[in-house]
Amino acid sequence: MTKLLLLGLVLPVIVCAATMIVAWRPWRPDAPIAGGLWAGAVALAAAFVPAFLAVDAWPGLPPHVTWHWLAWLVPIAAFAGVADALVRWPTPVRLLGAAALAAVCGRLLVGDWVEHAWPWRAVTVTVIAVVAVSVNAAAGRRAGPELPLSLCVAALGASVVLFGSGNAKHAQLAGTMAACLGVAVVLAWWRPAVSLSRGGAAVVAVLLPGLVFSGYFSNYSEIPRWVYVLAAVAPAFAWPAALIRLEGLRAWQATAIRVAVAALPVAVTVTVTVMTLIRQETDSAYPY
């Protein structure tokens, strides 16, 4: 239990916070913004390493457990994210990069043992690509705590769905990611220039849908299939929320409204998960 808490939560949060602080130097308001653009991707990926080690041993290549591909795909996504954040690629190149990353994830995260593997690969690729592009667009549109807060809520929602589906490991990893995004929220509140930037989008897009779909493929719960799809695509709602124009409101009020809009799919998925669990509570003596 101590290992789960220290390695699975405390250490990832410290790693994430340290990386963001070193990169952005938020105590210096005059620090160049460009200096921290790499931080979002690196912070989330670096935090993922101890979080993964808390639930499983680091896998070899190729991993014998399909979902363990995440351990390798997250660093790859971080690399792609840093490249995306630091270089101003033409839009078609960026879209192509997101599609390529999504395609690799779809192929590797959906094993041949999954029922209807190819349709699920198509769904996984689509969701990862949509989340990557949407979060990227939202990151470019709004500074401050709005985006990390929306993503934090999405990660928490994914964690609840995964916990309800009986995948405690996946739920824990999603929860750890929510905690790390919480760090980004605090830092962005302090210094609105501090951002996950575009780089973080690639890591979020691989990790959250990857966890949710992997949890679905090995689950035995009665939670409907569409709940997993909605939970996986939930981070993408940060973009339409960021498009909402709110004038005459204070900054925190506008942030609250946009985050609430982005959290609508999370509210649906969490509600359906809880209702499903209540309905199947024939066995309430086993909380885990």
């Binding site: 639930v55 014998h64 999954v114 405690a168 490991k169 090995s218 066995d283 885990y288």
Partner: protein, 203 residues
């Protein structure tokens, strides 16, 4: 008259020979086998795989994996010719709690959809006692194969109303973390003891 005596004598000899060759209904003791080359298919209804694990450091919890399959050959005269292949579906885990069964089958433990089978295949068998055999083999679980050594005890074999049957039992302990199932060690023990009783029907 002579031919009648010869016929009766031949008939008696034939009866004796038939009686001697016909498989006896009497039980073999566990140190011998009526047919050393026979293969016995596991009878899932009369076989059991029970596991026990420490729970929270306060108790020992028991569960089972229903309907094992496979088969075995037990050769007392030439133990090296013996062979054991025992399998079970991880889907068949049964702990008397539907929610717990779902959890054990999930990716936290068995990952039963990706790794549906649990298998033991012997690689070497030697006699270790009057009714016991030291069996070395490969245990595959959660996609990981590890060599293990166990001792099996032959309980007996005989002709029954349900066919010619033979059976054995074994107890052994493994570490689940060796098979990539190390989640929640502390709350649940790492060591899992398996108690297996197998009854086979001669094929």
């Amino acid at each position: 008259m002579k031919s009648r005596i010869a016929f009766v004598t031949l008939a008696m000899l034939a009866c004796l020979a038939t009686a001697a060759l016909y498989p006896t209904a009497r039980a073999q003791d566990a140190t011998t086998s009526a047919d050393e080359a026979a293969w016995f298919a596991v009878d899932p209804v009369h076989s059991a795989m029970i596991f026990s694990i420490n729970h929270l450091g306060v108790s020992i919890f028991y569960g089972r994996i229903n309907n094992p399959t496979g088969g075995f050959r037990l050769n007392h005269g030439d133990p090296g010719a013996s062979s054991f292949t025992i399998s079970a579906k991880t889907e068949n885990v049964d702990t008397n709690s539907a929610n717990r069964d779902k959890h054990i089958k999930s990716s936290d433990f068995f990952d039963a959809k990706q790794f549906p089978d649990l298998t033991f295949k012997s690689t070497a068998v030697t006699r270790s006692g009057k009714t016991t055999f030291a069996v070395t083999g490969d245990l595959t679980m959660h996609g990981v194969t590890k060599p293990i050594s166990i001792v099996i005890e032959h309980i007996g074999e005989k002709q029954t109303r349900m066919g010619y049957r033979s059976g054995f039992t074994t107890n052994f302990t493994i570490r689940r973390s060796d098979f990539g199932m190390g989640y929640m060690v502390g709350m649940l023990g790492d060591e899992v003891t398996l108690m297996i009783g197998i009854e086979g029907i001669k094929e």
